[in-house]
């Protein structure tokens, strides 16, 4: 008589493998600065007559000094009429764009799921709503490449470069300086290089304050710590340019974002309002197929280039 082994039971009485109840998540990088003072919400395009919000800028409240009466050859007198000063103004356009993400799932795939947290149209809808955070991170990474000033290092990022970028912000706009606090958004490789250089730093005045558990809870998983009073975050969505990572340092008011949202989805059989994302279910009965479509409307841009500086370093 043969012994009853697991091997002998497979196919009839035992399974070759049993799928886990829990679905482990693959690594994502959706961390972003949405709920920080470093990204300004400039408004919604709903009912505005355009897909673009023009952010108006003006030199007020201490921008212009009182006129000095120092005309040529001392011609200005006590009773000389003052000349008018032209107002300095400008604008930045934030264009809102449609963004979409769709998955399709068959009824059979849905019904064979185990329990409530398995892959089904509702779990997919939840996932789409979280991809909005990823979009935010991507747009922020692309937007910072639009700053004008830059500090470029043809090698790994060093403390010197970081200080130089910091000083550029302090000297921004002909020495007026961008009001802080400052934030740095670096590619993880830039952060590694900076961290390595900070390790060899002996000057106590330049101490690095690593992210504590409490700080990370408050500021999110991308928060790495503070250096020279600059909050440092990392993002893999930092773009590349000419073999360099394009990270950045900036102050509040440098970057703005605008959104839009359909007030109602006319003709939608079933829709879900998930924050800034609208999810719609579409049904193809002849194929037993459900489409889960998410839409959001978002745009981001540099509002004031004087308040930011790019930090470029080698992408190995």
């Amino acid at each position: 008589m043969a012994n009853i082994t697991n091997h002998s039971l497979v196919a009839d009485l035992r399974l070759q493998q049993m799928i886990s109840q829990e679905i482990k998540l693959l690594i994502t990088d959706a961390r972003n600065l949405r709920n920080t003072p470093f990204l300004d919400f400039v408004g919604s395009i709903n009912g505005n007559g355009s897909d673009t919000i023009r952010v108006r800028k003006a030199g007020l409240d201490g921008y212009d000094s009182f006129q000095a009466f120092t005309g040529a050859s001392g011609s200005f007198q006590e009773d000389t009429a003052v000349g008018e000063t032209s107002l300095t103004d400008g604008h930045a356009d934030i264009v809102v764009k449609r963004n979409a993400l769709m998955y399709k799932i068959t009824d059979l795939a849905s019904m064979t799921g185990i329990g409530g947290s398995d892959i089904d149209p509702f779990r997919i809808a939840e996932s789409i709503s979280k991809s909005y955070e990823l979009l935010f991170a991507e747009l922020t990474g692309a937007t910072v490449a639009g700053f004008t000033a830059s500090v470029t290092q043809a090698g790994a990022l060093t403390v010197d470069d970081f200080i130089l970028a910091f000083q550029q912000l302090e000297l921004a706009s002909s020495g007026k300086g961008a009001p802080g606090p400052y934030v740095a958004l670096l590619h993880p490789e830039q952060w590694q290089d900076l961290q390595a250089d900070i390790r060899s730093e002996t000057n106590n005045a330049l101490a690095f304050a690593p992210a504590s558990y409490e700080a990370m809870s408050a500021k999110g998983p991308g928060y790495k710590g503070s250096y020279l009073g600059v909050d440092i975050y990392t993002s893999s969505h930092i773009t590349d340019s000419a073999g360099n990572h394009v990270g950045a340092l900036w102050a509040p008011g440098a970057i703005g974002f605008a959104t839009g949202k359909p007030a109602a989805l006319v003709g939608a059989a079933e829709s879900m309002d998930m924050g800034d994302v609208l999810i719609e279910m579409d049904r193809d009965a002849t194929r037993a197929l459900t489409s889960i479509v998410g839409h959001c409307y978002l745009g981001m841009g540099v509002v004031d280039s004087d308040r930011g500086v790019k930090l470029l370093s080698l992408n190995d």
């Binding site: 356009d93 747009l139 830059s150 470029t152 773009t239 340019s241 000419a242 394009v246 280039s305």
Partner: protein, 228 residues
């Protein structure tokens, strides 16, 4: 015909076409721009032939020459970012953005004239890269190698051909002033041989930068022609 060598319906599908597609998602095209204050110090290996004296053969001598290179950047054209409007799918209308940059003083480099973009087929679209990036696929991973020397030469050629307009050496002066602070930070550790070496290297670069600034005042743009 030898039917054994023909692909049968049950045979594995040829992966030939799949290999032609980069194992990555599509990205966005880009354009090149330059801000006249953005420079970076780069070194070039310059080889010249030294005539042999008498019966001696000619010799090739390689020297390292440092110059300030305009830091030409590539900006992604992504609809919804920095004023780029969506016109067709993920294709953006960049005219607004270029106009804004030119108003601010940026120099825009048209890809049609300067040929710096390459497009490769990717999963579900196209993958754009600059022409200085060599892309290979190994173990289903995309390996990118940036040819910095080629890129630097392109930037210098643009400068020498007058495509980037007038050069303002004042910006180099500012970069030198910033660079002067770098060796100072290491002074306290100069007793360590490797730190001393770094200080020496930084000081040597500082000397070369100052020399370049002086030479430019005498020779002008001709100074760049030896590295092209």
């Amino acid at each position: 015909m030898n039917y054994k060598t023909e692909a049968q319906p049950w045979a594995p599908q040829s992966t030939h076409n799949a290999q032609m597609v980069l194992p990555t998602r599509p990205n966005y095209p880009m354009f090149a721009k330059w801000w006249p204050a953005n420079w970076v110090w780069q070194t070039f290996e310059v080889t010249k032939t030294v005539k042999g004296v008498g019966k001696a053969k000619d010799k090739e001598e390689t020297t390292t020459v440092g110059v300030f290179v305009p830091n030409v950047e590539f900006e992604t054209i992504r609809p919804g970012v920095n004023g780029v409007r969506q016109i067709r799918g993920e294709i953006g209308d960049v005219s607004n953005r270029i106009g804004q940059l030119q108003r601010e003083g940026w120099i825009y480099l048209d890809p049609k004239r300067h040929d710096y973009i390459r497009a490769y087929p990717a999963r579900g679209g196209q993958y754009f890269a600059d022409r200085f990036t060599d892309i290979r696929v190994l173990a289903n991973r995309m390996i990118k190698t940036f040819d910095r020397n080629d890129y630097n030469k392109w930037c210098v050629t643009l400068l020498a051909n007058g495509e980037l307009g007038h050069i303002e050496p004042q910006f180099w002066q500012l970069l030198i002033r910033d660079f002067e602070k770098r060796p100072d930070r290491l002074i306290r550790q100069q007793h360590l041989p490797e730190i001393k070496q770094r200080i020496d290297d930084l000081n040597a670069q500082l000397v070369a930068m100052r020399q370049f600034l002086n030479d430019y005042k005498t020779n002008g743009i001709e100074l760049y022609k030896k590295v092209i």
